[in-house]
Symmetry: C2
Subunit: 369 residues, 2 copies
């Protein structure tokens, strides 16, 4: 498989949502190709929201392409990098920048960065003047295969991750595979956690494929990446199209996330990468599925091995089971204090259900921390 | 016309929105009637968001009715009263309260208060865990006839009013006419500004009716109030059903608001009541319509007289035309720095259009300040 360069040869994954459908374009050399920016809503101005790590690498190229494609004024807002800045003061700095430069309801925002930038620029777009359009330009693997697709935006609250946010769909997602080459290895691994996730919850054959190509993915082979990003986006787009606002099905995308969020919150956001916590959380959630008699015990070491080969931790921090349970009760999936888990029904199928009993969950935690 | 008491005899105005339709119930003694609270979405808990002026008057009665009707835990968050608290720190205090008391995605919020409480509790409901249901219980005339209906929620930014917000429809609106009896005269007048508004923009016959009954309305006659609130809500519901997200038509509801927002922002939010600024702003917008040759000059003194009889100011503060223009360029309806006005096309019809020229607008400002 060869992967050609430029928008003309980009893979296109449509996200079908009534009145808000959009395309994910996946390919090489997309960012600086004006063709990738054609056909967007008419804008009065464009603001690129990025962070101080990504800006020096890609902001000039993106802005040049935007100016050529849209022929509108383009400006830039640079946020501090990191999950610990995914908070109100940083969001407020986006609003200050937008209002200070005379932006209006026709301003187009462009989120250029990883999941944090996408969540914050997306939430800013959701709230600014009650909603302006935005484009996601994910520059991490995790953002390309997960957070940039589906319209979830949010900031953190001291009492929980992503507690304040909105569903606000982008008008386009541009996943440029070349930008992944500047990614630290740890970030690549974190992204692979979400790629792996799609296998157990929705597509056992894709899990087989990942097992066969995990070394290529770790090595950032373009053809392997193109397939992994496309298949991940296809599965996510399919789930989101069926349940945009997470009334039911969409929650399966949180496989591993209940344990993972507890790890992130317990250590303090930013200590582990989100994908690292999810990698470890998937192993714990698979173990819970085994203990519930819903998953063949042989699949647990198989998944654990794959997570480890991707470069992800498979043992959680020793916070103690009681602390894990307390943190999980604050998870957004919890209802009336009842923790809810995504449980596998064999490989390739998942569903959300209440925690069976605290003792069983404690055993899982003790076994993996 | 007599107005019976209790939910069974309440007037019902449906707001038709695909997948998000809801009813406005208008009547006497609704708040403490459990029947008025039946048929809401299943909730895990209920939180009444109110302010320190309204809480001592109505919060106990509302909470008792909620407990009896829903049989769920009911708690209370009390905000400081006033437009100058319609900001992020106050919003954050709502999130702190919700998360601190273990609320989840099935928590129902109840906004008990005027427009500020409705805007803030509504925006909190829009953002908390990316959206929870809420009921509007407007306790001012202005909120009953305008701000509680249609799903606009927001907080202010130092650079502009309602700049940060969301469209989030309530699941019900309860407009209890009896609560208006505890309203200061100035607040009643402010509400009448929005009632009057519906005449010139949509229903000349309703304007005739208001002229004939303005003294009854000022005196809070229940039958007159019931008709005024119902007809106002009907017109607003009709406009919102056609254009929920203000792509076009809905903007006519902002008649008088471009000038009005400049008055509010120029004096500092909270100095004039919103309705007072709108009352004066409508006179200025009508004058602009006359100067554009779109409205019979005889209608201007007629509207000015009605606004004055309602107890509202008809002369704006002397900020200077240049300052007005600068403030209006930051209005949300502005596009690429071009101010947009709601202009009357004769009585009972309105449309939004760009400012004709700054000189004409300056003349209007100078004539009324």
């Amino acid at each position: 498989m060869t992967v050609a360069e430029g928008a003309a040869s980009a893979l296109r994954v449509p996200v079908e949502l009534e009145g808000r459908s959009y395309d994910i374009l996946i390919g090489r050399r997309l960012l600086d190709d004006p063709a990738a920016w054609q056909g967007l809503p008419r804008a009065s101005s464009v603001v690129v929201v990025t962070n101080d790590t990504v800006a020096p690498l890609y902001a000039d190229a993106v802005e040049d392409a935007l100016r050529r494609a849209l022929e509108r004024p383009v400006s830039r807002i640079v946020l501090p990098d990191g999950e610990d800045h995914k908070d109100w003061p940083t969001l407020q700095s986006i609003f200050d920048g937008l209002l200070g430069s005379g932006c209006d309801r026709r301003t187009l925002l462009v989120a250029l960065g990883g999941g944090v930038v996408g969540d914050m620029a997306g939430f800013a777009a959701a709230c600014f003047m009650r909603g302006v359009p935005f484009v996601q330009v994910p520059t991490t693997l995790l953002a390309q295969v997960d957070s940039s697709v589906g319209g979830k935006t949010a900031i953190n609250h001291p009492l929980g991750k992503n507690m304040i946010g909105a569903f606000h769909q982008p008008v386009r997602v541009l996943a440029d595979l070349d930008v992944l080459r500047t990614l630290p290895r740890r970030e690549v691994a974190a992204g692979l956690a979400e790629v792996i996730k799609y296998g157990p919850i929705a597509d056992a054959a894709f899990l087989d494929w990942i097992e066969a190509h995990v070394d290529d993915l770790v090595a950032l082979d373009p053809a392997a990446l193109a397939h992994a990003v496309r298949r991940s986006c296809e599965i996510k787009a399919d789930v989101v199209a069926q349940d945009e606002r997470e009334g039911g099905l969409r929650a399966i995308l949180n496989f591993g996330h209940t344990f993972g969020h507890a790890i992130e919150a317990g250590l303090g956001f930013g200590e582990w990468l989100h994908g690292e916590a999810v990698g470890c959380g998937m192993v714990m959630a698979a173990d819970l599925s085994v203990r519930l008699g819903r998953l063949d015990p042989a699949e647990l070491p198989r998944l654990e091995r794959l997570v480890a080969r991707a470069g992800l931790p498979v043992r959680g921090p020793r916070l103690g089971a009681a602390r894990y349970l307390e943190l999980m009760r604050h998870d957004k999936k919890a209802e009336a204090g009842e923790i809810r888990f995504v449980v596998l029904d064999g490989l390739g199928r998942a569903q959300v259900q209440p925690a069976p009993d605290a003792l069983l969950v404690s055993e899982v935690i003790d076994a993996h921390c």
